[in-house]
């Protein structure tokens, strides 16, 4: 059924990871930075799936499930932090959050 070469899948994962990396570097809005981290995690999971499909083993998919779990926990805590930061300093500028005072 699948004739897709492993190289093409890995290159797609690399391109998506690069796009997420560019976005996390150029943005100052913290919500956009969180979204970019999601893109990068998804690209890493894609690389795992490609490698798992190459050897037809379920280990890659198990790793992807762990990545999804970590992404869900990370985005929930990150969004709670964004809510707190926005209530404290009234802006979404990542550079403005420099004081770690509760």
């Amino acid at each position: 059924m699948n004739e897709v070469s492993t190289e093409a899948g890995l290159i797609l994962a690399g391109i998506l990871f690069m796009l997420g990396l560019i976005s996390v570097l150029i943005r100052r809005n913290i919500i956009f930075m969180l979204i970019s981290v999601e893109i990068m995690l998804n690209a890493a999971g894609l690389a795992f799936i490609v490698a798992g499909a190459r050897w037809a083993q379920p280990d890659g998919q198990a790793m992807f499930i762990f990545i999804v779990t970590m992404a869900a926990a990370e985005v929930s805590v990150g969004l709670a932090l964004i809510l707190q930061i926005y209530h404290q300093i009234k802006t979404l500028d990542g550079d403005a959050a420099t004081k770690m005072k509760g």
Binding site: M1, N2, E3, V4, S5, T6, E7, A8, G9, I11, G14, L16, M18, L19, G20, L21, I22, S23, L25, I26, R27, R28, N29, I31, F32, L34, I35, S36, E38, I39, N42, I49, V50, G52, A53, R54, Q57, P58, G60, Q61, A62, F64, I65, F66, V68, T69, M70, A71, A72, A73, V75, S76, V77, L79, A80, L81, I82, L83, Q84, L92
Partner: protein, 176 residues
Amino acid sequence: MEATFYIAAGVAIISTIMVITSYNMIHALIYLIVSFLSIAIVFFVLGAPFIAALEVIIYAGAIVVLVIFVIMMLNLRDETVRQEREWLTKKIVIIPSVLSAILLAELIYIVVNMEPMAHPTGTTVDSKQVGLSLYGPYVIGVELSGILLMSGIVGAYHLGRQKKKVVHRFLEKIES
């Protein structure tokens, strides 16, 4: 099936570029849903239908909707778009893009010049095998994921709680 992979990959790349270049957060998130759906098609073509379903349900369904709800809670208006337009100038974009593109070129060079990989065997790894693998050799990872999700819930509740303001006649204090 190969054409399906390349079309879905093109859609994923274009929609991700739209995510990282759009000024409006909601538009970026809608493009992100398109990107996740096309990556789900890639997973399906690669012989992982269970993971494709999981991608649609968790990433496109849960995580993006969570971010959209937070944006709605923050009540961001048009000035955010204007501010984003100020922050995202061409001068800022160029250097990170060039550096990342150099790294990507090196990665592609390494992947292409590896000793040629054999074609995938073309079998679909279904959810039964994944489940047996998760509860066989990876059972400690499942338990650690449970602990991680629990601590994520507790942390999100603790951080997201609004401090109740107690107004007293003489002194005003923030009750934690």
